[in-house]
Amino acid sequence: MRSCWAVRLARAFIAIKREFDVDADAIVSKIREFLGQFISDTDLDPDINLFESGLVNSLFAMQLLLHVEQEFGLEVTNEDLDIKNFRSLNAIAEFVIRKLGARTEA
């Protein structure tokens, strides 16, 4: 299961690089910049659970959603509603990479 996931992520990285010339570091950096509005950089562990940390307010989920959609040209749908996709900086970055990769493959 884990190896299958790793292969898919690697393929997504490659696809994004080829199509958009955007690398994963740039995606992480953009998300970090957005989160920096809510959490001081010194507190922003890339794996910290944003929703359980108490660091963000109740409107954060909607702001994050709109940011991801606008910044990366994605549409977050019903099927994407999984806490695994949004719980931390790294989780959001992986989600964006996956979505961009899926779109490129399609």
Partner: protein, 395 residues
């Protein structure tokens, strides 16, 4: 009085249409609706037939696909006519927005055409007897049983709960906040009217009861765990937008009433408008109405763009406009004197309704806490931009 909003030709035309509709069909009867604590079914049908109830639903599902600014103008005019009636449009369109965003294709196919035409009236069931602002921790619970969920709980202060055909209901599934569509004809559902409220008297409020109410799993909106944060979050953002614009309309109604009254009423041998202390109140009303209009317009612009700033800027517009509405309605009653405390003039109703605007879709104290945090965030971000190599960011 006309607010100087920057509108295109189509928006101006729509605004004139909404204004004429409200002047003819709502404003003359709003006090009667208030006394009788109900909105006539015929008027609700008319709102549906005109496309107002389904204005924000997608065109391909039978809705109007209305742009954010035009929708704001509709809310503004309805807020001027009757804040209670505005709340029908608010809760109905909140459910539409939640379904557009998070509903399944099957849910959208089934419900959207009926919601768009007004054949079905929807309401938003979040508040509970013991849960108001802390809505993420509501006590209504749903347990999975085969292909259904069994819902038990109480909801209160539900606008148009007396007549709604379907509710967007929020409860917890194993502790995970979830949203469900619950039809009013389901076994285990009952409701009772709530009367004698301070304001929003014709908003047909109800207390809802769900006793082992069985709902198919196909009726869940979004996914368990995302009911409050995303489904309610989408709906409440839209609701705050409606309330901000509706408050602007209520402000306009107060100002119109005062300008008319001060231009006719004489005291000490001079028209009220020529008394300096009355002028001071009129001036403050005018300035606050302009400021509220600009904040609402800004929210509409951001909504149209899908800009992330929309969330906070709508909260700011709602906070300012509803607070200004209370201050302005208080002064409007003061200018009208004893007449303003009676039913012959609309300002007493405006005052009672304005107070409700400060409480619903997130109380103004909740807005203040969020806005203050936003202020700190913006400050920290600007400091960081000025000094990107700085090692610390003050919160």
């Amino acid at each position: 009085m006309t607010m100087n909003l920057e509108l295109n030709e189509s928006q101006r035309k729509s605004q004139a249409e909404f204004r004429a509709f409200v002047d003819k069909n709502i404003a003359p009867y709003a006090s009667e609706f208030d006394r009788e604590e109900r909105i006539p079914q015929s008027l609700i049908r008319d709102l549906g037939a005109r496309g107002y109830l389904g204005a924000v639903a997608p065109i391909e599902k039978g809705g109007g696909g209305m742009d954010a600014m035009t929708w704001g103008l509709l809310c503004q005019e309805l807020g001027r006519g009757s804040a209670s009636l505005l709340s029908l449009l608010t809760v109905h369109s909140m459910v539409i927005q939640a379904l557009v965003r998070w509903g399944s294709e099957e849910q959208r196919d089934l419900w959207m055409p009926k919601l768009a035409s007004g054949e079905v009236v929807a309401a938003f069931a979040l508040s509970e007897p013991d849960v108001g602002s802390d809505a993420a921790n509501c006590q209504t619970a749903a347990c999975r049983d085969g292909d259904d969920y069994v819902v038990t709980g109480e909801k209160r202060w539900i606008s148009f709960g007396q007549i709604a055909d379907v509710f967007l209901l929020f409860g917890n599934v194993d502790g995970a906040s979830s949203a469900f569509l619950v039809e009013s004809d389901r076994d285990g559902f009952s409701r009772r009217a709530i009367g004698g409220m301070l304001g929003f008297r014709s908003a047909m409020l109800a207390a809802l009861s769900f006793e082992n109410c069985r709902v198919p799993s196909a009726n869940i909106v979004g996914r368990p765990g995302f009911g409050f944060s995303h489904v309610a979050g989408t709906a409440l953002d839209h609701g705050r937008f409606c309330i901000a614009w509706g408050a602007l309309g209520l402000i306009q109604g107060c100002l119109d009433a005062c300008l008319d009254y001060a231009d006719k009423r004489e005291q000490f041998g001079a028209l009220l408008k020529n008394h300096q202390l009355v002028s001071a109140m009129i001036a403050d009303m005018h300035v606050q109405s302009k400021a509220a209009a600009l904040l609402c317009q800004n929210a509409a612009r951001l909504k149209e763009l899908g800009d992330p700033q929309l969330i906070m800027e709508t909260s700011i517009a709602k906070y300012f406009a509803s607070q200004a509405a209370v201050r302005i309605a208080l002064d409007a009653v003061q200018i009208h004197g004893a007449n303003g405390c009676a039913e012959d003039y609309p300002v007493a109703r405006y005052l009672r309704d304005a107070k409700i605007l400060e409480i619903i879709e997130g109380s103004n104290q909740i807005q203040q806490m969020i806005i203050a945090k936003y202020g700190y965030q913006s400050h920290a971000a600007s400091r960081l931009n000025e000094n990107p190599t700085g090692s610390t960011v003050e919160q």
